[in-house]
Amino acid sequence: MNKNFQEMFAKAKQEKRGSLIGFATGMDPNYKTSKKILIEMSKHCGAVEVGIPFNTSTSDSATIMDANMRAIKSGANTEKIFKLIKEVKSEIKNNVPFLIMTYMNPVYRYSIKKFAKKCKTSNVDGLIIVDSNNNSPEDKELSRELKKINVAYVKLVAPTNDEAFIKETLKKCSSWIYVVSYAGLTGSKQVNLGNVKKISKLIRKNSKIPIGVGFGIRTKSDVSKVIKIADATIVGSGIVDIVGKNIKNHNLTKKIGSYLKNLKKGLNK
């Protein structure tokens, strides 16, 4: 397990609470503001997930798609997002783990080996690839490369997946597993606790890996319900929505801070 994630889950366990993982698209709306947003998020979240935007994403709702397009317009690319994370991590001077979330094309085009190395040198702790397939040659290479350098490879499982698929996914997954709570797009529906319970049971049956739940978690009450079942909860659209509605607002980071502070109140087990 990646050391920073190990510490995050251990500390949360000791404090009898769950962990909050916040997502924002890197360089949305621009490099400078995004840096402030990520620093603010690191003060409140157990881990921070940074999106490398992709203009042909197949799993994101309009909120995240708009953020992707804003980031691309501001010049976002893989190289700059690595630089952004490296700078943020050196400024925050703590061990809050940072993950990259993206699609396979940006990783594949960058070169898988080079991408993995760059994760290490930029202090990235983990990687999530939405459209990575367990049977693809890229997934096999990526999983191998990340393992060598102890960067977490966080894989997704969905309510439509059966136990065989979950078992296959668990073989490649490291540090924690991402449970998609419903069949739909990011942030488009309410979290589905029935699904979460069902998939968590299947995961627990086969592994002790920590479980993070995402999709449809926006409020303190959502966080509180999810944390009763899982180890961590991922909040994305809620944060990105604040960015989208407050691009020119000087209080943008403050607004994100108070939103996250409130969510944290739901983390107690």
Partner: protein
């Protein structure tokens, strides 16, 4: 009439990849959210069941013959031969008239087959599809009307305006139209939008219009569509005693190319695919993938040749909505890389002039997409100067929905 049976001659491996054994490059695959993996497995299972179910295939083929009218003629065009020197200099030119299908393009063969499978084997109540020139949506919507299924069409905002007639016909057939305002507002974001919608409606079936998308779609679409090429090959042999010397098809994603080329892959026919050169490939404003500086990339569930800017999918620009796609299907990219298919391009202006020529000299209103291939074919055939050759061009659609833009072009240039 009996449709010649399908023979698998270039199958992908069990994970949906075509492999170039010389370079070890892989094409295809299934790059998609895990949410859709069970659905794709179900589509694949249903497809295998369908093609091995004799009763299903017999009923489907009867519908293809009687509802779609798949036995369209091959027309010898002395008019085209005469434009470039006559038969004695360039050989004989033939046009495969899939513009005469029900709903006026090559698309209904795959669309109807996929919907028929969705209804009887997948047991879906709703179909989701994307569309560019709306030929696909029009034929999916017609199939859904006939088969009593709901239909949801995703179309880019630019295309919705360009080909409004086909879009309106889709709506008349009862389809719900979702206009996509993202990114290039064309076929690519429409397909991404359809895939996103499928994730929210896993009980529906997604019907892809090109030989693209995650496995099993590239193989399934070309297998259904190859009915066209199987019939054409048989017709051509009956007419000339042999297979064509050359085959010319236009290529956006590659569905009409593969519909004709697939049954000829193991024959001696030289196969040419024609891309849209837009305003000229050198300008960067074009719809050409293979000739337009593509690299291997991963998008919309598959790995293939893609035109990109950095890691983002580039904008493709062309008059023809059906060719407005920054990638080609994985099997097409593979066949190009192993040298089985050669690529040529035609600019928008050349295609528009060819449109007017076809109206005036052939008495045919072709889809603008078909004009790219007719233009490139005439250039290539003229260059070959071989009177012993028989050339086959795929006239893949009718141009009613292009009329408004073309009459404007004609009047502006008179």
């Amino acid at each position: 009439m009996k449709i010649p049976p399908f023979k698998e001659i270039n199958p992908p491996n069990k994970n949906g990849y075509w492999i170039n054994h010389k370079t070890k490059e892989t094409y295809g695959g299934q790059y998609i959210s895990p949410l859709l993996i069970p659905n794709l497995q179900k589509v694949e299972k249903c497809f295998e069941k369908a093609i091995n179910d004799k009763k299903f295939m017999r009923e489907l083929e009867e519908k293809l013959l009687t509802f779609i009218g798949v036995n369209t003629p091959i027309l010898r065009s002395t008019e085209l031969e005469n434009l470039i020197g006559g038969q004695k200099k360039v050989g004989k030119i033939y046009l495969k008239r899939t513009d005469l299908h029900h709903d006026s393009s090559h698309k209904p063969v795959n669309s109807f087959s996929s919907c028929y499978m969705a209804k009887h084997i997948f047991k879906a109540k709703k179909i989701i599809c994307e569309t560019g020139a709306s030929m696909h949506s029009r034929s999916v919507a017609a199939a859904c009307a006939m088969l009593k299924m709901d239909c949801e069409v995703h179309i880019g905002a630019v295309d919705a305006e360009k080909v409004s007639l086909n879009k309106d016909i889709s709506e008349l057939y009862g389809a719900k139209i979702v206009v996509v305002n993202e990114s290039t507002k064309s076929l690519l974001p429409a397909m991404a939008s359809a895939l996103r919608s499928w994730q929210s409606n896993p009980d529906a079936m997604y019907v892809v219009g090109s030989v693209a998308g995650p496995s099993p779609y590239p193989r399934m679409v070309r297998t259904w569509a190859s009915v066209i090429g199987r019939i054409a090959k048989q017709q051509f042999k009956q007419m000339t005693g042999k297979v064509p010397s050359t085959l010319f098809c236009v290529c956006g994603g590659g569905s009409n190319l593969m519909s004709m080329a697939y049954p000829l892959l193991k024959d001696k026919t030289e196969i040419f695919a024609v891309e849209s050169g837009g305003e000229g490939i050198h300008t960067g404003r074009h719809g050409a993938t293979i000739l337009g500086g593509s690299k291997m990339g991963i998008l919309l569930g598959f790995k293939s040749k893609v035109v990109m800017k950095s890691a983002q999918i580039a904008e493709s620009l062309t008059e023809a909505s059906g060719l407005d796609f920054a990638a080609v299907g994985p099997e097409v990219a593979y066949l190009n890389d192993i040298g089985r298919i050669k690529f040529r391009s035609t600019t928008d202006i050349e295609a528009k002039k060819t449109f007017l020529m076809c109206c005036e000299k052939l008495g045919i209103v072709p889809a603008i997409e078909a004009c790219y291939v007719i233009n490139a074919a005439l250039k290539e055939i003229k260059k070959r100067k071989n009177p012993r050759e028989n050339h086959l061009i795929h006239l893949c659609g009718s141009g009613e929905s292009n009329v408004a833009r073309m009459i404007k072009f004609k009047r502006e240039n008179e």
